[in-house]
Amino acid sequence: MSFNPRVLARSAGSASRSARRHASSSSSSSSSSAGPQVTASLLLSRPPLLTPSAHPLESAYYAHSSSVRSALSNPAPTQFYFKPGSLPLRRFQRSQHQHELETFGPRLAGSAPDVGDVPGEAPVEEVARDHWVKEDSERGEKSLERWPEEEVYCLVKDGKRWSFPSTTVEKGEGLDEATFFLRSHILAGEPSIPQTAGWSGHAWLSAKEVEEKLRAQGDEKVWEAVKGMFGVAEGDVQA
């Protein structure tokens, strides 16, 4: 996801236009002179909960850039930031020398600074990245902790068919009042489906899972129309 920047410009425009075309052509035309029935859909998403995991190339690039930057930088003014002889200063000097040794080799790093006895730092308790996903795993696709590094979208089930939550535009509502895909985020809480809606369930799916579900139920045209909203450009090869 981090190496796949979203192309907003043309994809977004074409997605909403083609979604509009698709919506008006697929839904049943109403009686008399009102024209094709217009559907307004909701693209409800939960933004990522965690920053993306580092790709090895990304980590290597950042490490290289950091090394170049530290090589070109002035020496850190330790006399200002640390008290003389203090433990943080000794830790800093040791870690600086260690970094220089690893990056530039022993000749340029020089001899190790005489820091004496440096007690180890308190261990930082690391929570596994999939900790909350595992805790909430029994809820399956209904869990809001799924795919913590990706954006997940809400799809609802109408009988056996999965679709975006939609509603028809009533007479008297302007076209610019009801957008075809209204984009929104869930901030807190859980969605509760009212009885009147007629949907049997919901799921939080990543972009890839949305594509798989739509293709599995024969809605390739729907996917082709809306894929721009998920950052998939025309001509992208899907893995």
Binding site: L8, P48, S73, F80, T103, L108
Partner: protein, 315 residues
């Protein structure tokens, strides 16, 4: 913080860069293999050799890329920019055709092919509206942090604390770390004097630093994750009142300005780490410059900032 009139006088001023110590590891193994080291006792900070002794080599161009992932930068790219596109879309502006300047009909043949006269008026031209489209979503361009120190009027040393605090908060030094765009902390010198405040022209009275690029998002991270949540009873930054002029230069410029008191400067983790090294801490102003222009530009800029978790409240 100093009074507003004092700041207004000192505001028209010139700046002086604060230089640092020479670098120690310049021209070393980070660059490609064949790099020659000059025979001076220390290496010059600037990449180009001085004209007095010009060796027959030149420093290869070293491009310093991003050194760490930018959390709020990625948030802007992934989520915030597309949300802003929806939030700031203005249907009327998007469909408005720009009014053509009326060219007067030539009444005599002598008026044909005359160059168009300059527009009249005693005010500068307003920036024209920049419609928000997928390729023109408001984006943060730079952040300027500015501290005016009233005590520095008779006493230059009073500025040192402010300079070091800005250096710690922004992490910027002039062309530091090979980034040619960084200006570093600059001292602001007054151009005009004010006898009421014992100010003369040419006195250093303030310090400022302009942050550009990924470093902006590092500053926002410190501000939003460490400082603002710990300010006591912080309601957010005040929104302009509903009666404020919507066509003023500040409303059309796309710049959001805000300030914090001295107690907030102590909450930055970079300053808190060695708090007793600063004899005095000062309040400061922040100017967030975006590329929004024209009608509702400042509102769009504020929408952008609120997406970075900077709160605003109605007065």
């Amino acid at each position: 913080m100093a009074s507003s009139s004092l700041r207004a006088i000192a505001g028209s001023s010139r700046t002086v860069a604060v230089t640092g110590t020479p670098s120690r590891l310049a021209l070393t193994a980070a660059a490609p293999a064949r790099v020659l080291i000059p025979s001076r006792g220390y290496a010059t900070p600037s990449p180009s050799p001085s004209p007095s002794s010009s060796p027959d080599w030149s420093l290869p161009e070293i491009h310093v890329g991003q050194t760490h992932p930018s959390r709020y930068g990625e948030h802007y790219d992934d989520t915030l920019s597309s949300d802003l596109l929806y939030m700031t879309y203005n249907h009327r502006l998007a469909n408005a055709t720009p009014a053509a300047t009326p060219v007067p009909e030539p009444r005599t043949p002598y008026e044909l092919n005359r160059p168009q006269p300059l527009p009249r008026g005693n005010r500068p031209a307003r920036p024209s509206a920049k419609v928000v489209r997928p390729d023109t979503i408001p984006r943060l361009e730079s952040i300027t942090i500015h501290t005016m120190v009233k005590e520095a009027i008779g006493n230059k040393q009073a500025l040192l604390s402010a300079i070091m605090a800005l250096r710690a908060i922004s992490g910027e030094t002039a062309n530091g770390g090979g980034r040619s765009g960084s200006s570093g902390v600059q001292v602001v010198i007054s151009r005009s004097g004010a006898a009421a405040f014992k100010l003369r022209a040419g006195m250093p009275v303030a310090a400022k630093v302009e942050i550009k690029g990924p470093a902006m998002y590092d500053f926002i991270q410190s501000l939003v994750d460490f400082v603002l949540p710990r300010i006591r009873e912080f309601p957010g930054f005040a929104l302009p009142s509903a009666s404020a002029a919507k066509t003023s230069p500040s409303a059309l410029g796309g710049v959001v300005s805000m300030g914090l008191p001295a107690t907030a400067m102590a909450l930055f983790p970079q300053v808190e780490a060695n708090l007793d090294a600063y004899p005095r801490l000062h309040g400061f102003h922040m100017f967030f410059k975006t590329d929004a222009r024209g009608e509702s530009a400042q509102e769009n800029a504020r929408a952008l900032l609120s997406g970075f978790r900077i709160p605003f409240h109605k007065r």
